[in-house]
Amino acid sequence: MEYLTLFISAVIVNNFVLTRFLGLCIFFGVSKNVNASVGMGMAVTAVMTLSSIMAWLVYTYVLVPFKLTFLTTVVFVLLIASFVQLLEMIIKKHAPALYNMWGVYLLLIATNCVVLSVPLLNVESSFSLAKSIVHAIGSGAGFGVALVLMASLREKLRLADVPKPLEGLGVAFILAGMLALSFLGFSGMISL
């Protein structure tokens, strides 16, 4: 139950994009069409989960015992960047089909705040390994949901008569605002 709550909370109630403002660069950058956003959502979830696991292990078994927690940032970011780069190379070489599907998004993810923040939040909230994984998957799914919704709204808006200065980024922000307003309906639903 606890895990379910954590998961739902990460997906909807405390959606990363809409209530915590993380990963906005990709959120606005890749939400131009639905297909790309689905791929991105899956890629983010996968990377987030795997790096959460590794980061948790490094943190628990290296940084904490040696009282080096102030190195968290450096180590995590290096870990994620290297891991993503590695992943990208492997996939590109051995699963070109998979790479074509969503491998290309990996590069975007390598240095991105949403991917770094999940491991950081995990250790900050002293989650267990299992909880960290659930949290990571939930956060990724929430990110994906927001991304897909946003993409579908923007696809619809492409056909609209938006005032010139607002076209593109401006109206995307306004949409995100209204999306966030709607998601407030879930607030108070789950308190952790």
Binding site: N14, F70, L71, V74, L78, S187, G188, S191, L192
Partner: protein, 187 residues
């Protein structure tokens, strides 16, 4: 663009060395800074903690950790325990709320401080400020009860528009009081 054709510079060890050196330099710098700031940071942390507790129990002249209870402090004045400062936590509107609660030895709320919360600014976050705060001060367990009836002066009036936060704050404080009362055995 330099390295694309240059086989030599691409050898495994060169690459690894490159990154390793960067990390080493980085480590040197961080270690250096850490070394110079560590004491100040530690000192600051202790100061802040003391200042926070001092603000809660203004009369106290000394704070001593309570054995066996992580994070608990006895506030002493002239060697006499006048209050306990204990951490507490409850579920609010937007997530967990963390407190530091000062409870008198008689089991009354002396004061409290919200350390971390995710309540809505302007609404739920008023739970750590007056006038809501002053309502709780001096109350005992029995009256740490949220009501929405303005005529009821005994209990705690909910903040308008933030009943959930009101309850959460009150319950968090109450939990601390209950623990202290249990610890002191009611005396």
């Amino acid at each position: 663009m330099s390295g694309h054709s240059d086989e030599n510079s691409n050898s495994i060890f060169k690459i690894a060395f490159n990154l390793a050196m960067t990390c080493l330099v980085s480590g040197l710098i961080i270690a250096g800074v850490y070394y110079t700031t560590a004491d100040a940071a530690a000192q600051k942390a202790v100061d802040m903690k003391n200042a926070a507790m001092q603000a809660l129990v203004q009369d106290a002249d000394k704070f001593n950790p309570v054995e066996g209870h992580e994070g608990w402090y006895k506030a002493e004045k002239g060697g006499k325990t006048i209050a306990y400062v204990v951490p507490s936590e409850s579920k609010g509107f937007g997530g967990p709320i963390q407190f530091l609660v000062a409870v008198t030895s008689e089991g009354k709320v002396l004061n409290y401080d919200i350390i971390k919360h995710n309540e809505t600014p302007g609404l739920g976050d008023k739970g750590g400020k007056d006038p809501f705060k002053s309502q709780l001060i001096g109350k005992k367990i029995e009256n740490l009860q949220v009501v929405k009836d303005p005529s009821d002066k005994e209990n705690v009036q909910a903040m308008t528009g933030a009943t959930i936060s009101s309850r959460a704050v009150t319950n968090g404080v109450k939990k601390a009081v209950e623990e202290v009362v249990e610890f002191t055995g009611g005396k």
